[in-house]
C-alpha cells in the first residue's frame, strides 16, 4: 500500500478532512458533546444480578401469560441474555483479540 496513487489519495483525504466547512465542524462538535453526555459508568456486579432477576421475572411472566401463537422464549434467562446481547459478545471477542495482539507484540 505504498504506491503513489494511494499516497496521493491519502493526501487528498487528509486535506478534505482538514478543510471542512464551519457548519459541519459545529455539528461534529455537537455530536461529540452529546456523546460525552452519555453515561459511561460500568455496571457493577449487583447491577447485572438485579438486571438478571428482573429479566427472569419478565420471562416468567411471559411464560405464564403467553398465547400459543407467540414465539417461544428461552426458559434459561442466561441463554436469553446471550441471544439478546450477541453484539456485546462480538465486541468482547474483539477486545480479547486486541489484548492477545498486545501480548504478542510485547513478547516479540
Amino acid at each position: 500500500m505504498t504506491d503513489q496513487l494511494t499516497e496521493k489519495a491519502k493526501a487528498l483525504l487528509d486535506e478534505s478532512a482538514e478543510h471542512m466547512d464551519a457548519e459541519t465542524l459545529a455539528k461534529l462538535h455537537q455530536a461529540r458533546s452529546r456523546a460525552l453526555e452519555s453515561d459511561s459508568t460500568p455496571v457493577p456486579w449487583y447491577g447485572w444480578t438485579s438486571g438478571g432477576l428482573v429479566t427472569a421475572g419478565v420471562l416468567l411472566g411471559l411464560f405464564i401469560y403467553q398465547s400459543p401463537s407467540q414465539p417461544p422464549v428461552y426458559a434459561d434467562p442466561v441463554e436469553q441474555e446471550i441471544v439478546e446481547n450477541m453484539e456485546l459478545l462480538d465486541d468482547l471477542e474483539f477486545m480479547a483479540w486486541m489484548i492477545l495482539q498486545e501480548e504478542t507484540d510485547a513478547s516479540s
Binding site: 503513489q4 496513487l5 489519495a9 460525552l36
Partner: protein
C-alpha cells in the same frame, strides 16, 4: 437524531462542562471525528445520515468502552463506525441493488486479484483530484470503500482491518485490490 438548529450559548457552556469531565475521551473523539464523518459521508452520500452515524458511533464508544485503556479506543471506534455504516446499507437495501454490476459481496473470499500495473503510477497520481477520488469511492461497494479507507487512509494493518470489518485477511486484500484497481481505472478513463 438530526443536528443543528437551536444551539445556544448555554448549550456551549454545558458542552465545555462535559469536556472538562472527560478530557482524554474528548481529545480522542476530536482526533477521529473528521475522518469518521468523511468515511460515513462517502458511504451514505448524505451529510445528515453521516452525522447520525458518527453520533451513534461516538455514543456507543463512550457508553461501552470509555473505561477501557485509551490505546484501545481507535480500533474499537472504527469497528463500531463500520458496523453502523454496514447497518445503514442493510437498512436502505442499496448495497446489492445499486452496485450489483461490481460483483457480489460474497464471492470475494480469498481471491486476491493483485494490482494492475498498467500505466505509470506517478502520472496517474498527479492527475488524481479530490473530486475524482470522492466520486470513485462513492461508486465502490461499501466493503471496498471500507477496506480502502481503513488501510490507505487510516493506516490499519491487514489483520487490524480484517478484525474491524469482521472478515478474513484474504477478503481485505481482495476488497483493497479491487478498490485500488477501480481508482486506477477511473483516472485512466478520464485521460482517454
Amino acid at each position: 437524531m438530526r443536528h443543528g438548529e437551536g444551539y445556544t450559548a448555554y448549550d456551549l457552556f454545558q458542552d465545555d462542562a462535559r469536556v472538562q469531565e472527560k478530557p482524554e475521551l474528548d481529545r480522542f473523539l476530536a482526533s477521529v471525528e473528521r475522518s469518521a464523518f468523511r468515511m460515513a459521508d462517502i458511504a451514505t452520500r448524505n451529510k445528515d445520515d453521516a452525522l447520525d452515524i458518527v453520533q451513534d458511533t461516538m455514543t456507543k464508544l463512550v457508553e461501552k468502552y470509555a473505561h477501557k485503556p485509551s490505546d484501545e479506543w481507535r480500533p474499537l471506534f472504527y469497528r463500531i463506525l463500520q458496523s453502523r455504516i454496514t447497518d445503514f446499507h442493510r437498512r436502505s437495501g442499496r448495497t446489492n441493488r445499486i452496485f450489483s454490476w461490481f460483483g457480489s459481496e460474497d464471492d470475494e473470499e480469498e481471491v486476491y486479484v493483485g494490482v494492475d500495473e498498467a500505466g505509470p503510477v506517478e502520472l496517474l497520481a498527479e492527475r488524481l483530484t479530490l473530486e475524482k477520488l470522492t466520486t470513485c469511492l462513492e461508486l465502490l461497494p461499501v466493503r471496498q470503500q471500507q477496506a480502502f479507507l481503513l488501510r490507505a487512509w487510516e493506516g490499519f494493518s491487514v489483520i487490524e482491518t480484517a478484525k474491524i470489518m469482521k472478515c478474513s485477511e484474504g477478503s481485505v486484500k481482495t476488497h483493497l485490490s479491487r478498490a485500488t484497481n477501480a481508482l486506477r481505472n477511473s483516472v485512466e478513463e478520464d485521460d482517454d
